[in-house]
């Protein structure tokens, strides 16, 4: 089996696993970080070290990092928390049609609570331009939510250009950076984003842990969405899981140390994959014109049926789009927004490469795909001219 689905989830890096073990194995640190005895303090120290490591990767202060159970919770907390704090009724939110489901579903929920939401469509390059966002902002706009990197095409939004413009207009800016952290350099000292969602398991850390950056100066204000004992400065209650937090911390430390080397190596492999796939006629690289993260290659194959193509590749772990929407089996909304028709959007594969991908895997994957596309095209009846 060849795993080329790193954008869905990454395996835990062996170094991350080693870092987590002392918080899992017998005789290790098992305290509740909220306990005031020695066992609790050891757990708390680990949690705070992890917080510093996560903050360091994105150029934040440790006290601006709020632990969550993952990006879905981070996105929910950022968006619902900001709107609830401000008062939802009559407020306006600007987001895009190509956001992750956890942003889109949250926005749809807010619409039932009296919030007006503008869903911007990307341009032909797959990106939402800063000018589009600024044109959509009105006096009632409370929040803009835009992902830094799209999970299906890998396009990189120009967050650095947009953030200062939104700051000038006094609009809170939330960025989902689940696919960006560890893949491109992020520096929140230079980019005035107010809220930033981070994921552990998209960056070689464990599942079940994420974080929300909440800027202190100027202070982004949120109503908590998980109420309880007042953990995380009152913004998110619930017992913290040190083994997961330690894992995410170590993963982010590694990501910082290896960012340049990983990006360069993975970029070369992606190009190697693309050069083999493009030998086929009628293949389209989605969002080709835009800056993209090095690990993602989204390709549409003309003249084949998507379901048959995926069924023909049982040894290949790739995605037909976003894992989170694959249960619904709808053609990718991101690709449709890019202007691909339903048939072509349905016959798309997202290859996502990562730290452990090898040239041999890339070559084997390309060979399988090329062979199966040729076979399926040969089986298909000749298509009618439009």
């Amino acid at each position: 089996v060849i795993y080329l689905d790193y954008a869905a989830t990454t395996p835990i890096d062996p170094a991350v696993y080693e870092a987590m073990l002392p918080y899992l194995r017998p005789g290790g640190v098992h305290g509740n970080p909220s306990s005031s005895h020695a066992e609790g303090l050891k757990a708390k120290a680990a949690v705070e070290r992890g917080r510093e490591q996560v903050a360091a990767l994105v150029g934040a202060d440790a006290n601006e990092i709020v632990w969550t159970s993952g990006t879905t919770e981070s996105n929910n907390l950022a968006i619902k928390g900001a709107l609830e704090f401000r008062g939802a009724r009559g407020a306006h939110v600007v987001t895009s049609r190509i956001e992750h489901k956890s942003v889109l579903d949250t926005c749809r929920y807010l619409e039932t609570q009296g919030v007006r939401v503008s869903y911007l469509a990307p341009g032909p390059d797959g990106r939402v331009a800063p000018e589009q966002v600024l044109a959509a902002v009105t006096a009632e706009t409370a929040l803009v939510s835009l992902m830094w990197v799209n999970n299906e095409t890998g396009v990189i939004h120009d967050v650095a250009a947009l953030a200062p413009r939104l700051r000038e207009r006094g609009v809170l800016f939330h960025v989902d950076a689940a696919q960006a952290a560890g893949r491109i350099a992020l520096d929140l000292r230079a980019v005035p984003v107010d809220l930033l969602s981070l994921s552990g398991h998209k960056a070689y850390g464990p599942k079940g842990v994420g974080a929300l950056f909440v800027r202190k100066r100027p202070r982004a204000r949120l109503a908590p969405q998980m109420h309880g004992s007042g953990h995380e400065q009152g913004m998110r209650s619930g017992t913290l899981a040190p083994h997961q937090i330690v894992g995410m911390g170590e993963a982010f430390r590694l990501a910082g140390a290896q960012l340049a080397a990983d990006s360069a190596r993975i970029g070369v492999l992606r190009e190697r994959l693309w050069q083999q796939l493009r030998a086929l006629p009628e293949v389209f690289l989605n969002a080709e014109a835009a800056p993209r993260v090095p690990g993602i290659l989204n390709v549409s194959f003309g003249g084949v049926e998507g379901e048959s193509l995926r069924a023909a590749l049982p040894e290949l772990c790739v995605s037909s789009g976003s894992a989170c929407s694959s249960a619904t089996r709808e053609p990718s909304y991101v690709l449709r927004a890019l202007g691909r028709d339903d048939e072509l959007a349905g016959a798309s594969l997202r290859f996502s490469l990562g730290r452990f991908t090898t040239a041999e895997e890339v070559d084997a994957a390309a060979a399988q795909v090329v062979a199966q596309v040729r076979r399926l095209r040969a089986l298909a009846p000749p298509r009618q001219a439009a």
Binding site: V1, Y3, D5, A8, T9, P11, I12, Y17, L24, R25, P26, H30, G31, N32, S34, S35, S36, H37, A38, G40, S69, G70, T72, E73, N76, H100, K101, S102, L104, D105, T106, P206, K207, G208, V209, Q225, M226, H227, G228, S229, G230, H231, S237, G238, T239, L240, A241, P242, H243, Q244, P314, L316, C317, V318, A323, C324, S325, S326, A327, T328
Partner: protein, 386 residues
């Protein structure tokens, strides 16, 4: 001598549970929402765990929604029900955990009428007063914990739930402390909602569950992705869920042995504590969890004693890890009519399955030694053999 006697705050991960988790931390594993083979394997593991958790509490697997922990389960139960109803009345016992109290208070700010249910001096809900509250009408939801985290007091849930049902109200039972320590049976409890936590029963931190009656609709707390049949978005924390399942299966199998073991240790401890002048055990006459005893030695405040006991290697707490660090008297003890000054002296010992007689005896010796140090006049009596 040293011993961890704070299992109600968190129980150390069982080595057998870690074994079950390891393949999902080490190996090439995938996102359970992904349609490819590795994604299906992750999904199968989650479903096995769901059946294990359901079996522990007499529920159907389809009734189990995995969450990030007990706090999220309580928030989901209360806010998930409230979101689908026009504001009405909500009742909760005066001794609930902050993860029930605080969501209730949040709803009070959104137009709900929120009332506490009084408890008697033993910490038990007063059926007559509760019945009168229900009889007034308009109650949508009642929330009452099965076992209190501080005193260990066990409520008669089937009776309280039946009263709620008779009054047309839903019933939520927080079983975070009870599950794995005493038998809990969802189907026979009469409750429609039941909260569980993994790390209180030797599973990993970062996993919990809300058991929901199949017929009951719930607004999700975390929107996005459609996981958990649309009731809880977010990539499943596979390793933690697998660990929770393994821990639940062990808890079911070993429940009676654990109950007998901790009850024996507590009886031994209480017999020895009885020899300390002035020592008061809270809710001594009430049905309690087998492993829990909460007491005070007036006039001492626990802040003083806990630190000294910790230095001697005994990890105990005042009652709730989540409230540690605050110098507020326990709201649970105040609700029982315990004077504030006495309540400030609360020390909770919560035994675990691996504690020994030596741990119980060593704790009493350490307590006597600490008391003798802070109260020289009593030293001769305290230093006499227990």
């Amino acid at each position: 001598m040293a011993a961890y006697l704070d299992h109600n705050a968190t129980a150390p991960l069982d080595a057998r549970v870690l074994e079950a988790m390891l393949p999902f931390l080490q190996g090439p594993y995938a996102n359970p929402s992904s349609q490819h083979r590795q994604g299906r394997a992750a999904r199968d593991a989650v479903e096995t765990a769901r059946a294990q958790v359901a079996a522990l509490v007499g529920a159907d697997p389809g009734e189990v929604i995995f969450t990030s922990g007990g706090t999220e389960a309580n928030n989901l139960a209360i806010k998930g029900v409230a979101a689908l109803h026009a504001p009405g009345r909500l009742l909760y016992s005066a001794i609930e955990h902050p993860s029930v109290l605080e969501p209730m208070q949040a709803l009070a700010r959104h137009g709900w009428s929120v009332e506490t249910i009084a408890v008697d001096g033993d910490g038990l809900v007063d059926p007559a007063a509760y019945g009168a509250q229900l009889a007034t009408g308009g109650v949508r939801l009642v929330s009452c914990m099965v076992a209190n985290n501080e005193t260990g007091v066990l409520q008669d849930i089937p009776r309280l739930a039946q009263s709620a049902r008779d009054a047309g109200a839903l019933f939520h039972a927080d079983a975070v402390q009870a599950a794995g320590k005493v038998p809990v049976h969802f189907a026979r409890s009469g409750a429609q909602l039941l909260s569980l936590s993994s790390h209180k029963l030797y599973g990993p931190k970062g996993a919990g569950a809300l058991v929901v009656d199949g017929a009951l609709e719930l607004e999700p707390l975390l929107h996005g992705g459609g996981q958990e049949r649309g009731r809880r978005g977010g990539t499943e924390n596979v390793a933690a869920i697998v660990g929770f399942g393994a821990a639940a299966e062990l808890a079911a199998r070993e429940l009676e042995a654990r109950r007998a073991r901790t009850l024996q240790l507590r009886a031994r401890l209480e017999a020895r504590l009885a020899g300390i002048p002035g020592l008061r055990i809270f809710a001594a006459q009430a049905p309690r969890l087998p492993n829990t005893v909460q007491f005070a030695v007036p006039p001492f405040h626990s802040a003083t004693l806990l630190g000294l006991l910790d230095k001697k290697g005994y990890a105990v707490s005042s009652g709730s890890a989540c409230a540690s660090g605050t110098n507020e008297p326990s709201h649970v003890l105040l609700a029982m009519g315990v004077p504030a000054d006495l309540a400030l002296g609360a020390i909770r010992v919560s035994f675990g399955k691996d504690n020994t007689e030596a741990d119980a005896d060593g704790f009493v010796a350490a307590l006597r030694s600490v008391l003798a140090d802070v109260m020289p006049a009593m030293a001769p009596a305290l230093r006499a053999a227990p």
